[in-house]
């Protein structure tokens, strides 16, 4: 049970930590105040608690697939925010621009609300079993600790770079994280039977298991699946390409404006 808790919590925390760390690093590189990000984290936690509270009801929507569809919508929302964020910064519209702030805050609120709701719901499921609760809490604490530590390392790694390469690295990681959000949205749609499930294209579990720490890190970064389907691969690559096109077109329109 401890191991299961570690995996579940680590998976959720890493995902949110990745988004928060990248934006924190971006704010530091831009020499702006990080207060609005703290606000977004707190708002995300409140939204997560609210979502967790209504989750049993949400699950009953759409003939029992309400949770999957809501999660899909949240992931698509995060992807859209990250794409607009990339478009703005590639057009040289930076902080403290309100739209950039708004996109960053929305992405964080959405990411934290979904991930924290999953964790809260998972832990609350063991309320009646005191013995298991101890294992679950210990596992959750370990998962939380590893996830937050990875986020802190990512943040310091980014700010250790010079501003220009740091901004580039952040953009690349945002593209990868954004595409992973869409890949996860596809997984939810497959779970909800809104997308047809197909045979896995490959099986790399013997190389990197989904349940190992590297597997979890890769999952948070790029929605790593040892047995992905064609639809997941297709959506992942399309989202990645779309974000890259957004960056290139943003830069192009900036250069036209400068000319």
């Amino acid at each position: 049970m401890l191991l299961n808790s570690v995996i579940l919590v680590l998976r959720e925390v890493l995902e949110a930590a990745m988004v928060v760390s990248l934006f924190m690093a971006f704010t530091t590189v831009s020499q702006q105040s990080r207060r609005f990000l703290i606000k977004a984290i707190l708002l995300g936690l409140i939204a997560g608690a609210t979502y967790a509270y209504f989750l049993p009801e949400v699950s009953n929507w759409l003939e029992g697939v309400g949770q999957e569809i809501t999660n899909t919508a949240i992931h698509i929302g995060i992807y859209c925010c990250l794409t607009v964020f990339l478009w703005l910064i590639s057009r040289d519209i930076n902080l403290p621009n309100q739209l950039v702030k708004g996109m960053m805050m929305t992405a964080i609120i959405l990411a934290i609300s979904r991930e924290s709701a999953e964790i809260m719901l998972y832990i609350s499921g063991f309320r009646s079993d005191h013995f298991l609760m101890q294992s679950v809490l210990s596992g959750s604490l370990i998962g939380l600790g590893i996830g937050v530590s990875c986020g802190i390392f990512l943040y310091h790694l980014m700010i250790a770079l010079k501003p220009a390469p740091a901004a580039k690295c952040i953009c690349i990681l945002v593209v990868i994280v954004g595409s992973s959000m869409m890949s996860q949205a596809t997984q939810f749609l497959i779970q909800a039977d809104w997308l047809a499930s197909s045979n896995p294209v490959w099986d790399s579990s013997h190389l990197i298991s989904e349940h190992s720490l590297p597997g979890q890190l890769l999952y948070a970064l790029m929605a790593y699946e040892a047995t992905p389907t064609w639809s997941q691969i297709l959506v992942y690559l399309t989202s990645l390409l779309l974000m890259l096109i957004v960056i290139v077109s943003g830069r192009f329109s900036r250069s036209i404006q400068h000319d």
Partner: protein, 441 residues
Amino acid sequence: MKSIRLYLLLILVATLILVMFVSLLKGYQSSIETAQDLFDERLVNTAELIASANVAQTTSDSAQSPTSDYLFFQIWDAKGQLLTRSSTAPHIALSPFKKGFYDVNFNGFRWHNYVYPDPQLQRWIIVGERSDVRSSMAEDIVLATILPAFFGIVIAAILIWWLIGTGLKPLKNLSRQLASKQADDLKPIQLADLPIEMSQLVKIINQLFWRLDQSFQREQRFAADAAHELRTPISALQIHLHNLRQTYGDDSEDWQLMQASVDRMGHLVNQILMLYRTAPEQIAAKDESIDLYKITSDVIARDYQQFEKRQQHVELIGESAMMQGHVFALETLLQNLLNNASKYAPANGHILIQVHPTEKGVRLIVEDDGPGIPADQYERIFDRFYRYQNENSDLQLPGCGLGLAIVQHIIEMHHADIKLTNSAFESGLKVVIDFPAALNK
């Protein structure tokens, strides 16, 4: 990076958590495996024990009472007939008759079984334990070793916080010494037990202080030399000009302009020297107790001629007001303020000076009935060489734009506050200065 201490704490605790938790997970996995091996060994022992305790070769219908709810056993003869069983066990064989461990489902639970062939009595003993109970017991044992690690991390974080604070103490002492230094204190920094990492930094700072001190001394010498070298020829020029006018009896506009230019040059040199002398780096306010009212009255008396020349009415209101300050600097401040007031007030105009003791120190107010200054210019007029020229006035007043910059220096030196507003007259400027009673160095 806002705080080195916070940065180090975060990064060290994150490293500690990451390394410790990953090790804990690895330890947990291998401990669970070891515990499972131990439970398997216990299952084998139980099977052997049951075999030695049950030697009857006849079938018995009555099930034996179980040792516990999560354990069962069955004894089968070589022909596959059930000889006896625990009450928790069914009538069918729960595993194939082949030595080894098996996992099966029955009675709503997952069971881990061991099949033991009894070589002496040619029987099969099947012993099983509930898998969830085995896992719980294993986890219970392992958790007892994990839980102290959480408290360990909290204690480690507190210790790291304290140790970083101790490690950064020399840096704190250095910054405290630098912060407490007066503007004119350029003595080298002395810190005991300096760590190697900081000795180079302190050495460079001390070298910088030495160079700064040398440069100030050079500047002081230059100022003294310049005062001597520039004042003397300007005074000579003024005398020669006066003599020439006497000799030629010419009072044409050219002569007057030349006289005004030489006067302005003399004033400019004096003001530049004064600006330099009153700079906070050059002069520190002494803890000298003075009566600002008396100083003001002395300055007015000394400079009364300039007011009289323009038939201006000067009024001093107030009472004795004691404060700590630098007499020479305060006289210069008053001279500049009064000079400005006299310059901008019209002929027959009014200049009102008030000096009063206040709760926190002394308040000096100088106001005139001149044209005044718009509020948006209040900050700029303290800039060096900046002169405000009223757009509605054709009046070209002499001056070099250094008077209020000098005032600003003296204000800073005395840690005083200065405010500019409209005067109580129909028009004009009001300067309010609040001096603290004592100088907090």
